[in-house]
């Protein structure tokens, strides 16, 4: 069964390398798979456990993303990621 959650990129700098690192670090501590794509788009889906793939999303502030997790710890991972996105990855304005 696949669990899904939509999140929004709220930090000013968007999904640059450090937020991608934070997402992957959290995802790697869960057994489930994680796929991420811009909400409403069917094609550009990437592996949420790869920083390089996440960076190719070029997700700017305000972008809505759909997270899909499948397997052990899926719901826990999605909840953790939702908090991470909502916190703006703990970044001050203008960080990168």
């Amino acid at each position: 069964m696949t669990n899904c959650r939509n999140v929004t990129v709220v930090n000013e700098a968007g999904l640059h390398a450090r937020p991608c690192h934070a997402i992957v670090s959290m995802a790697m501590s869960h057994a489930c798979s994680l796929r991420i794509r811009p909400a409403g788009e069917g094609t550009r889906e990437v592996n949420g456990k790869s920083i390089l793939e996440l960076m190719t999303l070029e997700a700017r502030q305000g972008t809505e993303l759909e997270l899909s997790a499948n397997g052990g710890g899926a719901e826990e991972l999605l909840s953790g990621l939702a908090e991470l996105f909502a916190s703006g990855f703990g970044e001050r304005e203008g960080a990168s």
Binding site: L15, A17, R18, H21, S25, I51, L52, M55, T56
Partner: protein
């Protein structure tokens, strides 16, 4: 945008001498300064910024690649460097793999006549796509000359 043009040959390194992550950051900073692309008095700021960035989170993004990238006061445009260390360096990368290829990006703190911060994510996306390409990584490790190495960026630019 032709992002490969940001990587000037004189700022790149074909065979790094560094034996550790710290030495590698120093070596890249020194190369960027010696290239003449940035003022010599920014050398220490660049070196320090690169080290400080690693304490926030490793720039090792997996697949034997690291992308150290920092903002530095006093720059007017982004300066980039591609460096290769075939032996691999421990980098605390997200996948635990040693780093062999470094894309370093040094950029101004804010907008300037030659630099638009809005381009940053797009350039990082271009770098990420190149870095993911198995062929690019293999050819970069096999490059015999610096023009060959830097030429790969242009050759595979539309990947």
């Amino acid at each position: 945008m032709d992002w490969y043009k940001r990587f000037k040959s004189k700022a790149c390194i074909l065979k790094m001498k560094a034996e550790s992550k710290e030495e590698a950051l120093d070596e890249v900073a020194a190369q960027i300064v010696s290239s003449g692309l940035v003022s010599e008095d920014l050398g220490e700021s660049i070196r320090q910024a690169l080290h400080d960035r690693e304490t926030l989170a490793s720039t090792g993004v997996g697949m034997n690649v690291a992308i150290p990238h920092v903002k530095v006061e006093g720059l007017t445009e982004a300066v980039c460097s591609l460096a290769v260390c075939a032996d691999g360096l421990e980098w605390r990368a997200v996948d635990g793999a040693p780093v062999q290829i470094l894309f370093t990006v040094i950029r101004p703190h804010g907008p300037t006549e030659e630099y638009n911060p809005e381009e940053h994510l797009e350039m990082m996306r271009w770098i990420a796509k190149l870095a993911r390409a198995t062929d690019f990584r293999a050819f970069a490790l096999q490059a015999k000359t610096k023009p060959q190495l830097v030429g790969l960026l242009k050759e595979m630019s539309s990947i």
